[in-house]
Subunit: 161 residues, 2 copies
């Protein structure tokens, strides 16, 4: 299994949780692999064919997502074939839906393009359209301009690498 690069190791040690998330979702491919998994891809060939990704890059990214608990690997065997691995999102991987939906709706609103890839998040029961929103402790939606980021402890040394 590939070892994380020094850069990745530093990012996942970062005191900022945003940067630690980016230390696992290291690049565009990682986001695309999670997107395809959410759309039902499970096998190496399904990811490769959906994305046109080089096999060595795909193998490294899947191994990293497994190593960091986003996907779980399960052996499977089709009749007459050798045993292969299937990749399924873990519960932690499933929770990336909130991140992906937030990024998708931001891109849709602020970097519009036609034709748009039509991938939409829906409730499984009822097939209602779902959005990512900021909500307060009572579960009420809060507009972004009503929210501030507040530092609650003294600033440590610079946190970026």
């Amino acid at each position: 299994m590939p070892r994380p690069s020094p850069t990745l190791a530093r990012a996942i040690e970062n005191p900022c949780a945003i940067i630690r998330s980016l230390g696992i979702l290291t690049d565009t491919w990682s986001f695309l692999l999670v997107r395809e998994a959410l759309l039902g891809a499970r096998t190496f060939a399904q990811f490769r064919d959906a994305l046109g990704i080089a096999s060595d890059v795909l193998a490294a990214r899947l191994a990293s997502l497994v190593e960091h608990g986003v996907m779980a690997r399960t052996p499977y065997r089709e009749p007459g074939q050798r045993t292969r691995d299937a990749y399924d999102l873990t519960p932690a991987g499933e929770e990336l839906k909130t991140v992906l939906v937030a990024m998708q709706q931001w891109g849709h609103a602020h970097v519009p393009r036609e034709p748009e890839l039509r991938v939409v998040p829906l409730t499984i029961e009822g097939r209602q359209r779902v959005h990512a929103e900021l909500v307060d402790t009572a579960g009420q939606i809060v507009a972004p301009d009503a929210v501030q980021f507040v530092r609650t402890a003294p600033r440590p040394a610079p946190v970026a690498e």
Copy 2:
């Protein structure tokens, strides 16, 4: 102003809105600059000192965020100083709060680390803690495992670069 790299140009043309967002938030520095802006940084020196980022990298990232409508540049002048630029988040930049809060809470839950950087999103009025959630069309919070991604049009050619 630096021209976008060919890679960036391709990402912001991508039919997938997630990838277009990543075409603007190209790297860890971009996320960190938005985070620092949300915490109140406005000047080149404030961003540089908060992040320990090299001046040339900072200049290029700020120019790109301005070019893509995430930040707006405003000249300002302190007494006895030359005119400098201040950088403020646009409304589109403010809407990245949902993305950052979603990534922050994912990293906090799934890549825990101590000591954690204590930056928390609060409502401006009432200072209630805010979370990123998936909500349905009635504004009700939906758990990630009750949401599916659905492709609503035929799959185009592979969309990654």
